[in-house]
């Protein structure tokens, strides 16, 4: 296989990963590492480096639209980025010392959780639990646009959210993913933000978290331009196409199919990790 064929194949695979990741809300990064390692037999360290670069690009691209529309809560995002960045630096430093088989097993487990979490029913609940001292002090309470106009919401559970975000950052730095599923869990469940605000704020934060990890990966020589180039362009293009067709697609059935594929990849990653094939 020559360079052009390899680049085209990786680019096409990344395009598909970005497209499906965007449609299902899982993000392209989570599929890129198994795709590169299991299909293209790329060393997991190169795969994680390339995935991180693509995660920064897609997160920033998607966040631009959400921030402008007023869905993302920038104050919450920037505050929690302290936790995710510290976590990402910890995770990336940890990745340099852990055996690749252990990283593959952890990756498989997180992949499995992401697949299950994506199937969870998303409900917009009205949960006015009164003002929270820390959230009020940090002026985190805000509003977001709904078909019925702007809707006010209050933020709660800031310390718990902060701790969970640190964990999300560690996984992001360790595995080269956005760990959106855990970020959403922290904001939606712990901090009681509306689901739409949680997902869009998570999207805004993912790029910053991944950029922190990417710095460490770059310094260790894990980011190869030959792989990062087709992966970044493919995932970015795929996620943009996915966002455009999102409105008319049968997302529910697609999400189930995609989750099954993800679960299968997760099992293979765990199996390969245990049998030392990485």
């Amino acid at each position: 296989m020559n360079t052009l064929e390899f680049t085209m194949l990786v680019g096409l695979g990344s395009l598909l990963a970005g497209f499906l990741g965007s449609l299902t809300g899982l993000g392209g990064g989570v599929v890129i590492v198994p795709l590169l390692t299991l299909l293209f037999h790329v060393d997991i360290r190169y795969a994680i480096g390339a995935a991180l670069v693509s995660v920064i690009a897609t997160s920033s691209g998607a966040a631009a639209a959400y921030v402008k529309e007023g869905f993302s809560n920038i104050r919450v995002g920037m505050f929690l980025e302290i936790a995710t960045t510290l976590g990402a630096l910890t995770g990336a430093a940890l990745a340099l010392h852990l055996h690749v088989s252990i990283i593959a097993i952890i990756f498989g487990l997180v992949l499995m959780y992401s697949a299950i979490a994506s199937l969870r029913e998303k409900e917009e609940q009205t949960r006015d639990l009164g003002p929270d001292r820390i959230a009020t002090w940090l002026r985190m309470d805000s509003s977001y646009p709904t078909p019925a106009g702007k809707k006010e919401y209050r933020v709660r559970g800031v310390p718990l959210g902060f701790c969970l975000m640190f964990g999300a950052g560690v996984l992001s730095g360790l595995l080269g993913i956005g760990s959106g599923a855990i970020k959403v869990l922290a904001m939606d469940q712990a901090m009681k933000l509306p689901f739409k605000v949680s997902t869009t704020t998570s999207n805004f934060m993912i790029g910053v978290t991944a950029a922190a990890s990417a710095g460490i990966y770059l310094s260790r020589g894990y980011i190869d331009p030959g792989i990062a180039m087709p992966v970044m362009l493919g995932v970015l293009a795929g996620s943009l196409i996915g966002a455009r067709v999102l409105a008319g697609a049968a997302v529910r059935s697609l999400r189930i199919v995609f989750s099954v594929v993800i679960a299968f990849l997760a099992v293979e990653m765990i199996y390969n990790g245990f049998t030392g094939r990485f």
Partner: protein, 116 residues
């Protein structure tokens, strides 16, 4: 600060941030596309073997290093010399640009080529 002013400020920050993010992503994607096309057109050699982890050369491990190498178009760090069969996009593009610059400056085998 009154609430309406603060709200207006938040909206302005949202708008500026969105523009900044969009511009950054477009710039990055454009730059990568141009670099990728030049690389692929000029170097259809057998694909690099990524099964074995070797790590990038020292020059590609820091932001300042990448900028320095890109600005100086130095041929010293051509990966193909160090790792036969492991050509790097960035290096190849830089060598190509260096040769072009030398030709433009009237030195077809000038300083850049000498360093190669």
């Amino acid at each position: 600060m009154s609430k309406p002013v603060s709200h207006h400020l938040d909206e302005r920050i949202d708008s500026i941030m969105a523009t900044l993010l969009r511009t950054g992503v477009l710039l990055a994607a454009g730059l990568v596309t141009i670099g990728g096309v030049i690389f692929l057109v000029r170097h259809p050699m057998p694909a690099t073997n990524y099964r074995v982890f070797q790590g990038e050369p020292a020059e590609l491990r820091t932001i300042s290093g990448i900028f320095r190498e890109a600005v100086h178009f130095s041929g010293r760090t051509i990966a193909a010399d160090r790792y036969p069969g492991r050509p790097r996009a960035l290096f190849r593009v830089r060598v190509y640009l260096r040769k072009r610059l030398d030709v433009c400056a009237g030195y077809p085998y000038g300083s850049g080529a000498a360093k190669l």
